[in-house]
Amino acid sequence: MRRRTFLRWASLGAGALALPRAARALPETSRLTIGQLQHGGRWNPRPTALRRLLWELAARTSIETAPDGVALRAGRPGLHRFPFLYLAGDGPLPPFTEPERVALRRHLQYGGFLLVDSADGSDGAGFDASARRELAALLPGSPVLRIAREHVLYKSFYLLDHQGGRVLVKPWLEGQVVDGRLAVVYSQNDLGGAWARGALGDWEYECTPGGEAQRETAFRLGVNAAMYALCTDYKDDAVHLPFILKRRS
């Protein structure tokens, strides 16, 4: 059996395993969907990434997910049906219009969450420069700052002390805080590239330099980001502290 053929069968098997979960008949509107923001640049560099992340979320956690992300435009009605937004890009993107910025700002200020993911591995140019420009315009009162290692984002589900992604441009994540909560998380390490998986079950990109461990960390980061979006600082509640301290030591 050729490798491709095996993978095809294997992916069908995985689909069959997932079936009973879908049969639990959770209404579509109650499932977690991620809204992917469209923009004037290459807004969807990893078309299979969110589908895989949502699949992993459903498989690893009690979060029930929709099968795929939903493409959205910031200025169109319905943005608030998706409290979790994803902004990705490869190369620079033209500025958002003012109405789009207003809508995004409103979304984040009322409790929304935005994950920004750079696919091009840029630092100071390309997508990175555009993203920083947009984030500064979006929440002018909240500078983009490095997220501390102790932040609840790194323990909202998995206990994490490494970064994941297709590349490792920065060994940390950055974010913007609104009312004491992370409203924006920004990764320069192409998380989507690590999540992307072809229809035949093969990973679309190699992860460098850490290989599969780095890919796994990318998924764990994705899971933690979703958990943080849905539970915020739940894991900082006193009831969890003794358990977490024991495992971290």
Binding site: R21, R24, A25, L26, P27, E28, T29, S30, L32, A59, R60, T61, S62, I63, E64, P77, G78, L79, H80, R81, P83, A103, R106, H107, Y110, G111, G112, K155, S156, F157, Y158, L159, R181, A226, M227, A229, L230, C231, T232, D233, Y234, K235, D237, V239, H240, F243, I244, R247
Partner: protein, 766 residues
């Protein structure tokens, strides 16, 4: 000099010269004497020198006398009779015996007055007699009535104020010459701590001797709850210590069990041994109040045979038990936006102490090695055992019980039901693990839910617009805006919801009300409930049969001018209603004072609100006092004023603890009347009964400080009553009788001048 009705005299100068001129003349006279003395320094014979000097001095004196024109002033004066106040103690402590087994102190005082009234009235020659009784205040009295015996009923003894009042008070302006106090000395006002320097100074300002007649010798056997030290309010479920001070006299090692009761129910007790010779005991009584509200507590000491006062063995006080923060237990079956926004709202609220537990992984999920996860095992025992007991409200958000059967979840469902019935609050929020989908139908929890849960009814997945029911328009949970129409409009403006758990309204009489319903989702011919509430036992429950209430916040805030207020208001109202926040009851009652003296009426303010939460002007309200045995002992009716406040006054029948129950008109036609309650204590004993001991030593100190006499009954008689000297006041005429114009003085001056001149010539002083 004594003729013409004059009875006094004094010397005066009639000279028209001013005083300074007379002074100058005096200096000139002195200078004349000094000049003579200087001129005679060379005179060897002392006899001559003395004679000349004497003559010069005589001349100077005579000249001065003539210039000053002295006269005798004849005066007609009269003496004024000042006042003597006789003060008889009529405070309640005078009911106690003079000595164990003897007559009452009041009787002893009356007997003393009968025996010595004539002697006292004899003092009327020297001063005007004023008869008074005193306790809290001073009142004029008839001596004959005092001798028959005055009824001792004053609630306080304030000797210093009484003395000051008689010292100051007389329309004639006549001074106080003295006072006679007949009392047991059991002062419980300014002299309660003895004769302090301030009190001593105040007594001295009277300028009158106070003669004291002490009634009462030995303290009777008595046990009293003298004082209870406690704050005005306490936090529910936090341990509180009440410090009771016992005062005991005449005991010898008897044990005494002191109890603390809350409206009849003992909540704490302690035992002390009453030693001979030790009078004060501080007894700490600790307990943790378990419900919020206003209650009367009573500290009770046992009553021993032979005690002088029985009423002082208990003391009541009113305590307001409040919550420090509302403790909410939020259990979610999975992370979801509904859970996310509800948690965010509750976490933000400074009055909420939130305990969350979310299921992040189910048995089917493959997450990797346990030690790489931050997950903790589902602490079922901790949550539904310990936390449940101390929670004010429990919320199940899309949480199914069946998956946790192996954790013993089944056993906790009846516990939650009992927690609600005992006064807890429970809310179930929709989702595919809630209500019928979570197989709650037929469980013990279904007994307390505000909707009928039928397993298998399924979920409605078509968008629907909820609508307020007539009850919902007026209910504090769903009242989003001021009036009914505004609330309707506010709900209609919210986005439609995507999902509903199908349930059925409970029949009338179950205590449940549907507030918000889905007209487009009929269940057995009637709109399905969206929000329903229920009073069940002493507790309250809430059902929100959708997992999308966050649409009222985050989604409603999307359009320009939109905001999340409806969501915040709904959940904040719901939580406050669930935990019976007092500000959400349409009727409120508060007594003017938490405790009143025996015989005093209780003033009540009753605030009534209408269905629109505005003041219910003119609404009829009733108020009742309910005793510890549950019997209504007083009842009153009134109508609320324009501000929605009605004022009432009820007279409790006697000492004890009473619950105040106010009833207003029902919030809606057919609904039960609105009620509110508070508590009031009628003091079992005032300060007079707290300590039955006489204080003759205090009276002796008062007498000594003012220069008065002291005697003690029953043996003592009336001592000499010292009085301050009366003032002499001039009332009549005066007459000046000059003495300088007598010829002898002029002759004397002429003779002395002539004599000096002759001698000087003869002895050769030209």
């Amino acid at each position: 000099m004594g003729g013409g009705g004059f009875n006094a005299w004094r010397l005066a100068a009639l000279s028209p010269w001013p005083r300074w001129a007379l002074g100058l003349l005096a200096l000139a006279a002195l200078a004349a004497v000094l000049l003579a003395w200087r001129g005679l320094r060379g005179e060897p014979r002392p006899g001559r020198r003395a004679a000349l000097l004497a003559l010069r001095a005589l001349s100077a004196a005579a000249a001065l006398f003539l210039l000053a024109e002295p006269a005798v002033q004849l005066l007609q004066t009269a003496r004024v009779k000042n006042r003597l106040a006789i003060l008889v103690d009529t405070s309640r402590s005078m009911r106690f015996p003079v000595e164990p087994g003897g007559p009452s102190r009041a009787e002893a005082a009356a007997a003393f007055l009968r025996a010595h009234r004539a002697a006292l009235e004899a003092l009327g020659d020297r001063a005007t007699l004023e008869w008074h009784t005193f306790d809290r205040d001073v009142a004029p009295a008839d001596p004959a009535a005092l001798a028959r015996g005055a009824e001792p009923r004053g609630g306080r003894t304030d000797l210093l104020s009484a003395l000051r009042a008689v010292g100051a008070g007389s329309a004639s302006g006549r001074r106080l010459a003295g006072a006679v106090v007949i009392s047991d000395g059991a002062d419980n006002a300014a002299l309660a701590d003895g004769l302090t320097p301030a009190a001593r100074a105040a007594l001295r300002e009277l300028h009158a001797p106070v003669t004291a007649v002490a009634v009462g010798r030995d303290a009777p056997k008595d046990l009293a709850v003298e004082r209870v030290a406690v704050d005005d309010f306490a936090f529910v479920r936090n341990t509180l210590t009440v410090e009771a001070t016992l005062h005991a006299r005449g005991f010898d090692g008897e044990p005494a069990q002191v109890t603390l009761r809350r409206e009849g129910q003992v909540v704490a007790s302690a035992t002390v041994r009453l030693e001979a010779g030790k009078e004060r005991y501080v007894v700490p009584l600790s307990f943790a109040p378990d419900t919020t509200g206003t209650f009367v507590f009573t500290v009770q000491a046992p009553v021993f045979p032979g005690e002088a006062v029985v009423e002082n063995n208990a003391r009541s006080f009113v305590l307001r038990v409040i919550r420090d923060r509302v403790r909410v237990l939020l259990v979610a079956g999975r992370p979801s936006w509904d859970e996310r926004f509800l948690r965010g709202l509750l976490k933000q609220d400074p009055n909420v102490d939130l305990i969350s537990f979310f299921i992040l992984r189910t048995a089917n999920d493959r997450s990797g090695p346990q030690d790489e996860l931050s997950l903790i095992p589902f602490p079922v025992n901790e949550i539904f055992g310990d936390q449940l007991r101390i929670s004010d409200a429990v919320i199940f958000d899309d949480f199914g019980w069946e998956p946790y059967r192996s954790f013993g979840m089944e056993a906790y469902l009846p516990r939650i039901r009992d927690y609600v019935r005992a006064g807890g609050a429970f809310a179930m929020v929709g989702g595919e693990q809630s209500f019928g989908e979570g197989r709650y139908g037929g469980t013990p929890l279904a007994d307390v839910l505000p909707v009928e849960v039928v397993d298998g009814l399924g979920m409605a997945e078509e968008e629907f617009r909820p609508r307020l029911t007539p009850e919902g328009r007026r209910h504090p949970v769903t009242g989003l805006a001021g009036g009914e129409a505004q609330s309707d409009a506010a709900w209609a403006a919210l986005p439609p919801l995507p999902l509903l758990n199908r349930t059925r309204a409970l029949p009338p009489g179950s205590g449940a009300q549907v507030l918000l319903e889905a007209p487009s989702v009929p269940v057995m011919g009637r709109p399905a409930p969206v929000v329903a509430v229920r009073e069940v036992g002493a507790g309250r429950t809430l059902a929100v049969t959708t997992d999308s209430s966050w649409f009222w916040g985050f989604l409603a805030a999307e359009k320009e001018g939109g905001n999340a207020r409806a969501y915040q208001r709904f959940w904040s109202n719901a939580l406050r209603w669930l935990v019976r926040d007092p500000s959400l009851t349409p009727i409120q009652v508060s007594p003017d004072r938490p405790a009143v003296e025996p015989g005093e009426a209780v003033g009540l303010s009753i605030q009534a609100r209408g269905a629109d939460w505005g003041p219910a002007a003119g609404a009829p309200v009733t108020a009742e006092l309910v005793g510890e045995d549950g019997k209504v002992v007083a009842r009153g009716q009134a109508a609320a004023g324009a501000d929605g406040v009605a004022r009432l006054s009820l007279l409790p029948p006697g000492p004890g603890a009473y619950r105040v129950v106010a009833t207003g008109p029902p919030a809606a036609p057919g609904a039960p009347p609105e009620q509110a309650s508070s508590a009031v204590a009628v003091r079992a004993s005032g300060p007079e009964d707290a300590d039955a001991a006489p204080r003759p030593e205090l009276l002796r100190a008062v007498a000594e400080a003012t220069g008065g006499a002291f005697t003690a009954l029953p043996s003592g008689g009336l001592p000499d009553v010292p009085l301050a000297d009366p003032e002499v006041v001039e009332v009549g005429r005066r007459k000046d009788v000059p003495i300088w114009d007598r010829a002898g003085f002029l002759l004397l001056l002429a003779a002395s001048l002539a004599g000096e001149w002759i001698l000087r010539r003869r002895w050769g002083y030209g």
